[in-house]
């Protein structure tokens, strides 16, 4: 094994410009680097000087798969700055559009990106030939998520109907009811999906993670709550900067986030599930119990089961919101901009997404800070790779690389948000 360099160009199902580098010396891992050399995208910089009302539409452009998360974090931050509270049916509609995003994003990851890892296929194209019914189910679930986002957001990608204070236009009861049959099908299909994902084989792998997610007293978190962890963190969103810092590392154009004085942490479905199991809908909790997924799951490979449980929860929540829906008198609350700083954090499909804006008295953005979930998970991905390769160091070259790719995909990394990465190198000395 000495003197070997293992290199994989174009890690499949991962996007962007960069590389994963693992160095092994004397049969020990000595270095792991997530090298992101995609140029920075400067969204925070070009938000400066723009009106507060433009933030939802500008930040939605950061990501094609989780634009709702960007819109939600930005509107919550602005409303926080202007001391405005949005509640009632407008708040419910925000949860509903978020349900759509979770359904479509999780479906894509489970069926198109993650499942081929477990079934031994290079990609979903090859998997589709042998598992057509599974792929059809995944595509149909994704489409239902898209329809929900389209109905509320005006279109499925980069929606244009979300504004600070609410929506530009709200749907009628009839429009929402038109989705009920499809969502009932989706609930049955999500149950099937949970059972199917739980039947896959998982490597034994756990670390002593610090999971971080929102926690709300009454609901599984989408838009609101305190930031909590399994290691004692419990803060309001406006305290984020006191506890989390972003570090620049020389080999990456994406900043690494850590918890001050503690280090890397884990955000996303697994963190949400572990910190909010009791807030899942009863049907989602029952299914977890039925497939023997305990309320605390520390194996990131099992995130595929947790994502399917979150689809089930999102579908169930969507049906509940639709059944209780009464169109509000106005689609949004009135906004009076004032100077101040606003903080927002919501649960994107991949984990917490933090926004902070400083606004002047005319509603102009003076500065902005955006911390996407993948940026927060980067250091944890490196840590997982370090420990996984150490534990499986004697695996042959191809198998080890294959497994390393899975370790990365467990996090469903959105490199468009955190910039991008692409290649995987393992060097043995």
């Amino acid at each position: 094994m000495k003197g070997r360099v293992l290199k994989v160009d174009y890690l499949a199902r991962v996007e962007g410009e960069g590389a994963m580098y693992v160095k092994i010396k004397d049969n020990s891992v000595v270095d792991v680097k997530l090298k992101i050399y995609e140029p920075p995208r400067f969204f925070e910089a070009f938000l400066r000087g723009r009106k507060f009302s433009e933030a939802p539409d500008i930040t939605a452009r950061i990501c094609g798969i989780c634009p709702i998360a960007y819109q939600m974090s930005s509107v919550h931050a602005m409303e926080n700055a202007f001391k405005i509270k949005v509640d009632g049916q407008i708040r419910a509609l925000r949860r509903l559009i978020y349900c759509g995003e979770w359904i479509e994003s999780h479906s894509l990851h489970i069926f198109m990106l993650h499942a081929p890892d477990f079934l031994g296929y290079e990609d979903a194209i090859k998997m589709a030939k042998d598992y057509p019914e599974i792929v059809k189910l995944g595509l149909k679930l994704k489409k239902i998520g898209n329809e929900l986002v389209s109905l509320l957001g005006g279109r499925e990608i980069h929606p244009i109907n979300v504004r600070v204070g609410g929506f530009y236009k709200v749907p009628s009861k009839k429009e929402l009811k038109s989705l009920v049959d499809k969502l009932e099908w989706a609930r049955d299909s999500a149950i099937e999906t949970v059972k199917w994902t739980a039947s896959l084989e998982f490597p034994e792998f756990e670390q002593d993670y610090e999971f971080v997610a929102l926690r709300h007293p009454d609901e599984y978190p989408f838009n609101e709550g305190n930031l909590v962890s399994n290691k004692g963190l419990n803060i309001t969103v406006d305290q984020y900067d006191e506890h989390f810092i972003e570090e620049h590392v020389p080999y990456s154009n994406a900043l690494h986030s850590i918890i001050k004085d503690r280090g890397p942490y884990f955000v996303g479905p697994l963190a949400r599930y572990n910190l909010n199991f009791d807030k899942l809908s009863p049907i989602a909790r029952e299914l977890a119990d039925e497939v023997k997924l305990k309320p605390i799951c520390k194996n990131p490979f099992k995130s595929i089961i947790v994502r399917s449980i979150e689809i089930l929860h999102a579908v169930d929540e969507a049906l509940r919101i639709i059944s209780e829906y009464e169109p509000p008198d106005r689609p949004s609350v009135e906004i009076e901009p004032c100077s101040g700083t606003g903080y927002g954090c919501t649960e994107a499909p991949r984990g917490i997404l933090y926004h902070r804006y400083r606004i002047d008295s005319n509603g102009i953005i003076l500065d902005a800070k955006i911390v996407p979930p993948t940026s927060q998970n980067q250091k944890m991905i490196e840590s997982d790779l370090y420990h996984f390769v150490s534990k499986n160091i004697n695996l042959d070259r191809d198998k080890l690389i294959w497994k390393c790719e899975q370790v990365i995909r467990n996090y469903d990394p959105c490199i468009s948000c955190a910039t991008h990465f692409l290649k995987l190198y393992i060097e043995r000395e």
Binding site: E104, I125, M127, L139, R155, H158, I415
Partner: protein, 152 residues
Amino acid sequence: MKFPRLIIGVGNVYRGDDALGHILARYLRGKFPCCVKILDRDSDMVSVIDLLNCVERCILIDAVCSGAKPGTIFRYLAHRDNIPVKFFRYSTHALSIAEYVEIARGLGYLPEYLVIYGVEGRRFDLGAGLSPEVKMAMRRVLKSIMLDFEGK
């Protein structure tokens, strides 16, 4: 029941040569009003699978970035041959048109006749407009599509 024929143009009108699919599809809509669908690059390309599953004969037009000389025209009989991997765009979240076509093949959803036209773009910058190479290629693609569509 399947529709007899469909032209799908894919692209982003604001991004240089990526507008090709849009522009050709808009022109062809004038000639075949009921047989043209435009997919904006901002929409979820997953819908292409459903479109392919409901038509007998289909032509799909898109700009490509494969490293070939700008203006190079690729024509694939996709009902017969796999699309080369160089046209797949690796992404965590968004599969490319080529990848969705291949998934449709795996699911048995391909129409009996599917021709894909790809034209190598030179520039995809915001507001760049079509490059002269792609403009020249468009005329040839159009002639070929008319033969594909009308001749059979």
